[in-house]
């Protein structure tokens, strides 16, 4: 956990008080909507179909139980009793009143939560691996760097009005759970030949209308230089990024138009020209931030406690354990993923009651800590293995033990036309129908790892391009249609999916997806070959033939 000090707290309170003044000026007419829009966006406030939507940051996906309870309080007091966890370690509330927003922000500020820069053309929430600090084999805890970058880019005097939004993600593990290759800047922590810790810096990833996988701009930037290097990238982008067309304003377009070599050269020249501007992180500075992350006092526990051996006779427990429980770096402990993808439920939603209950379970079983991942699930990062059977029972009662993590019903979906003013088509009902079609856990296990991602429009908040199966809602003559891609992935081997055929109407989407899965089961060369590997081996054609032969 990162503990805010007095300075962090003061800054958040100052921001809340400024926003309170801005809201007041808006409601009195002193600020026009045109002027206010940017100010509210910089504080995470959108206007959606039904109401204002409020997006709160969960930096690097780490929450304390106290913070989660406060999010539950906001859901209950200012909203309709639930929240939606997003693909970027944020939570959204859908029904907030503008006049009450300053109070909601103020309540959150008391526990060190903010909504600064969760929207707008500035640096967004710096995200990371939801298993940071507990994943086996990690180089080091990436959240220390996330926090250093978070601070540096919060209310940055030069980069608060960039051409477009800007997202950074960091990973320190071999397997990328932070989807760094679809970010404006992706940072992979690693050690160079001399054993020095630094970053491979990738730039220009992003989805939306023109999707790109990020390219490496520099294979190794020492940790101490990462802030100045990011500053150089941002300065080049701020000056040269396109501002004439909102769809061409992301850094990916600049990188694409200049070419990665030319862009890298510009950044390198700027970085050299900067000289020493006080951004070099010396050992003491890094340790200062590191010292404010606290880690649990783990017990020395057996690898295989009796409680676990006994519970192994319960097939429901075993199914859940095999699916949702992952290896921890400390013996005797596990990382437990809490599926927010119940059969028939809206993906990523949690009720205030669930949030409160998870906070209680975190206190009881996970040293008061909760994590949020980009797959829109929660995790308890430090669960003693002996507690797993009791935790399972508690989670099951809450509807948070669906054994579908990374399986076909663990669907990533944006809010779609049910909430979003940009959407062309609905996402959530499609996801709900798919979870019903694949509700049988034996079938889902048989299918194996399969990520379905759904976006309700080309802005791609549901990351459809990088879903093993991607579903994109479009509009044709006032009707909802869906384009389906296969073969995408968001991990270290990130890849954009390929269109499998013509768009299909709303009512046929689930049938087509079932047929695609059927085709995969028939075509895979062995049960262990994952969907995405079969597509890679065979290409799209054999699957297309089977799916569209009868259509």
């Amino acid at each position: 956990m990162y503990a805010y000090d007095e300075l962090d707290r003061t800054l958040i309170n100052e921001r809340v008080s400024e926003f309170r003044d801005q809201v007041k000026r808006r409601l009195s007419g002193e600020l026009t909507e045109d002027e206010f829009k940017i100010l509210r966006l910089q504080n995470g406030v959108y206007l959606q179909l039904h109401a204002y939507m409020f997006r709160v940051a969960i930096p690097y996906g780490t929450l304390s139980s106290k913070q989660l309870r406060r999010l539950a309080h906001v859901a209950r007091r200012y909203d309709r009793g639930y929240g939606h966890f997003t693909t970027r370690q944020n939570i959204q509330f859908n029904w907030i009143k503008l006049a009450e927003l300053p109070d909601a922000l103020s309540d959150l500020a008391e526990v060190g939560i903010h909504a600064m820069q969760t929207s707008g053309n500035n640096m967004r929430n710096v995200t990371s691996d939801q298993w940071a600090g507990v994943a086996p084999g990690e180089i080091e805890d990436p959240r220390i760097w996330s926090e250093l970058i978070r601070q540096h880019t919060t209310l940055h005097p030069e980069f608060s009005f960039l051409p477009r939004k800007f997202k950074i993600a960091i990973t320190a593990a071999e397997h990328d759970r932070a989807a760094i290759k679809i970010h404006d800047i992706g940072l992979r922590l690693h050690k160079n030949g001399d054993g020095e810790t630094g970053f491979e810096v990738l730039v220009g990833g992003g989805l939306g209308r023109t999707p790109f996988i990020a390219k490496t701009i520099k294979p190794f930037v020492p940790g101490r230089d990462i802030l100045s290097y990011i500053e150089a990238i941002l300065r080049v982008y701020n000056q040269y990024g396109r501002r004439d067309n909102i769809y061409k304003a992301r850094i990916k377009i600049l990188v694409h138009e200049l070419g990665i070599e030319k862009f890298a050269k510009e950044v390198e020249e700027e970085w050299k020209a900067m000289g020493d501007v006080g951004l070099t992180l010396d050992h003491a500075a890094i340790e200062e931030v590191r010292s404010r992350f606290s880690y649990p006092a783990y017990e020395k526990l057996p690898h295989m406690p009796d409680e676990l051996k006994q519970a192994a006779h319960d097939p429901l427990f075993e199914r859940w354990r095999k699916n949702s429980v992952s290896a921890h770096k400390v013996q005797g402990y596990s990382i437990v993923t809490l599926s927010l993808k119940p059969v028939g439920g809206p993906p990523g939603d949690a009720t205030a009651e669930q949030m409160d209950a998870v906070a209680d379970l975190a206190d009881k079983y996970s040293f008061g800590e909760i994590r949020v991942g980009h797959e829109q699930n929660l995790a308890l990062p430090h669960v003693a293995k002996r507690d797993l059977p009791l935790l399972f029972k508690a989670l099951d009662r809450l509807g948070l033990a669906t054994p579908n993590v990374n399986l076909v019903t663990d669907i990533i979906a944006c809010p779609g036309l049910d909430y979003c003013s940009l959407a062309n088509a609905r996402s959530i009902p499609i996801a709900q129908e798919l979870t019903r079609r694949f509700a049988n856990h034996d079938t889902a296990d048989l299918i194996g790892r399969l990520h379905i991602n759904i976006s309700g429009c080309i802005n791609a908040c549901g990351h459809h391009h990088v879903g093993h199966i991607g579903i994109l809602g479009v509009e044709k003559n006032g009707e909802e249609f869906y384009q389906i891609t296969i073969g995408g992935r968001a991990d270290e081997n990130a890849q954009l999916g390929t269109l499998i055929g013509p768009a299909v109407p709303y009512a046929e989407v689930a049938d087509v997806i079932e047929d695609i899965v059927e085709a995969y089961l028939a075509l895979r060369d062995r049960p262990e070959e994952l969907f995405v590997d079969t597509v890679k081996r065979l290409g799209v054609e054999p699957i297309r033939e089977r799916v569209y032969a009868t259509r």
């Binding site: 100052e14 940055h156 005097p157 501002r243």
Partner: protein
């Protein structure tokens, strides 16, 4: 449109002179980059202070050689969402050592004052009277700053390190 300088609403001594318009015989003038670059020497010889209005999409390279003879550089915010001039301001102050008046012009609202001041601006052509009136108050909104810039404000990290230092020295 009120001008805020050194934290106070002041009379603007500079006259914006449009391209093609005749220059007044004396007194301070602000001219466009194009007019300035067409004949910098003639303009600099003229009695009265000279300022240049520099567009936010033009490299500073042509401006830099003249900086020490200019009384004002005005940078442009065509809309307040266009933040290119923040980078120009920091470069002028921090890299090229410009210490004359650095003026923000365009859509300037109170909500940018802190950012602009931190980037090096010290004069503001403010759009609304109420915002100009609120300048001093607005500048007091923030007491914590995460980034080092040329304005010399102590960063949060520096304050933490000082605190650590004094704590360990006191032991």
């Amino acid at each position: 449109m009120p001008l805020v300088k050194q934290g106070r609403i002041t009379t603007d001594l500079f006259v914006h002179v449009a391209d093609g318009a005749e220059l007044p015989g004396d007194g301070a003038v602000l001219v466009t980059a194009e007019r300035f670059l067409a004949d910098p020497e003639a303009l600099l010889r003229r009695p009265g202070k000279l300022g240049v209005l520099w567009p936010n999409n033009r490299s500073l390279d042509d401006l830099v050689p003249h900086l020490d003879r200019l009384a004002s550089v005005a940078l442009v915010f065509p809309t307040f969402r266009d933040g290119r001039a923040y980078s120009q301001a920091r470069l002028l102050r921090e890299r090229y050592g410009y210490d004359g008046e650095l003026r923000a012009t365009g859509q300037i609202l109170r909500d940018q004052f802190v950012f602009m001041t931190r980037a090096g601006f010290d004069a503001f052509e403010v759009k609304k009277d109420a915002d100009a009136d609120a300048f001093a108050q607005t500048m007091k909104r923030y007491s914590v700053f995460y980034q080092p810039t040329g304005d010399g404000r102590v960063t949060a990290l520096n304050r933490r390190m000082q605190l650590r230092h004094s704590e360990s020295a006191g032991q």
